[in-house]
């Protein structure tokens, strides 16, 4: 049976259709979920897409955290369901305290819109298990509030526990320790700023490296938790 990945559309989401296409291209079934519906309709994993949910009112992702669907997503994540947040989705995961830290205004104040070279730092997450640590991938980045910050103790703990998932090779926004993506303790929740869903076809992306994200979660779902 094909794994079903739910993609949540919020008011202001932009990348939900691209995420659905990426999920489809990688061999899973995309399922449309809605911010105002607490049901996640039996999906096997959840993708929180990029965009400007609720117009970025107050802080990016701050209002989305209080949407109907997020209570269910939080509960499911706590039970081990794979959840990925890209860009605005990463901001939502931090605002919801599913991931540590926060994403604030780029240090140079400019919107950054270009392919980002990243190093995969760990394969011990549901969404990166088919990559090798040290692999370089190219995903487009496009954000104004992508500077990852956390206090030193939290950063040290993330590094110590191998929970930095992606690191920028050319830091585009001033993120602390070049962090582009992190995971939770269990490795089932991953957030990153650059967009793997825009790197799935040679025609439209800078690489097809993003397919490995969905392929990884498919492997995770069929083989279970690694180690």
């Amino acid at each position: 049976m094909t794994a079903r990945i739910g993609i949540v559309t919020f008011p202001g989401s932009l990348d939900d259709r691209d995420a659905a296409r990426a999920v489809h291209l990688a061999g899973a079934e995309p399922v449309a979920l809605w911010h105002d519906d607490a049901q996640i309709h039996g999906v096997d994993g959840v993708w929180l897409p990029g965009g400007f949910s609720y117009g970025d009112a107050l802080r990016c992702g701050a209002i989305a955290r209080f949407s109907q669907v997020m209570d269910t997503v939080k509960a499911a994540a706590g039970q081990g369901m794979p959840v990925i947040g890209v860009c605005n989705g990463f901001q939502m995961l931090c605002e919801s305290h599913l991931l540590p830290g926060a994403l604030v205004r780029n240090a140079h104040l400019r919107y950054r819109n270009r392919p980002a070279r990243l190093r995969v730092e760990t394969d011990r997450t549901a969404w990166t298990r088919l990559y090798e640590p040290g692999n370089e991938v190219v995903f487009p980045a496009k954000h104004g509030e992508g500077r990852y910050v956390a206090d030193e103790a939290v950063l040290d703990r993330l590094e110590g526990e191998g929970r930095v998932v992606f690191r920028y090779l050319d830091n585009p926004n001033g993120s602390m320790r070049d962090i582009a993506g992190v995971t939770n303790e269990a490795g089932n929740v991953v957030g990153l700023m650059p967009h793997p869903e825009h790197a799935v076809e040679a025609l439209t992306g800078p690489s097809t490296d993003g397919l490995g994200i969905v392929a990884s979660v498919l492997a995770h779902l069929s083989e279970g938790v690694r180690r």
């Binding site: 931090c94 605002e95 926060a102 240090a107 140079h108 104040l109 910050v149 206090d151 001033g174």
Partner: protein, 81 residues
């Protein structure tokens, strides 16, 4: 009617690029003796006439929504009861 003002500021250890940009513009105004500029948010809340526990509720609003404690601190002041 209780009026509450919540001030939200980025914590001092978090770089405030907006404040830096303003600081950088000040010499063009002829102001050269400013050491630092930090930009925050002021939120004004008006409670219903009969609202109870205004201060407690304001703290919940500030802590759970208006400020992100990872990066921001806040102060709550009740302006009129």
């Amino acid at each position: 009617m209780a009026r509450v003002v919540v001030d939200v500021m980025l914590k001092s250890e978090i770089l405030d690029p907006q404040g830096e940009a303003v600081l950088g513009a000040l010499p063009r105004l002829g102001v050269n003796d400013v050491a630092s500029v930090r930009i925050g948010k002021r939120v004004e809340i008006e409670f219903d006439q009969n609202a109870q526990n205004v201060e407690e509720q304001s703290r919940v609003i500030a802590d759970q929504l208006l400020a992100n404690p990872v990066i921001e601190s806040f102060t709550v002041s009740i302006e009129a009861a």
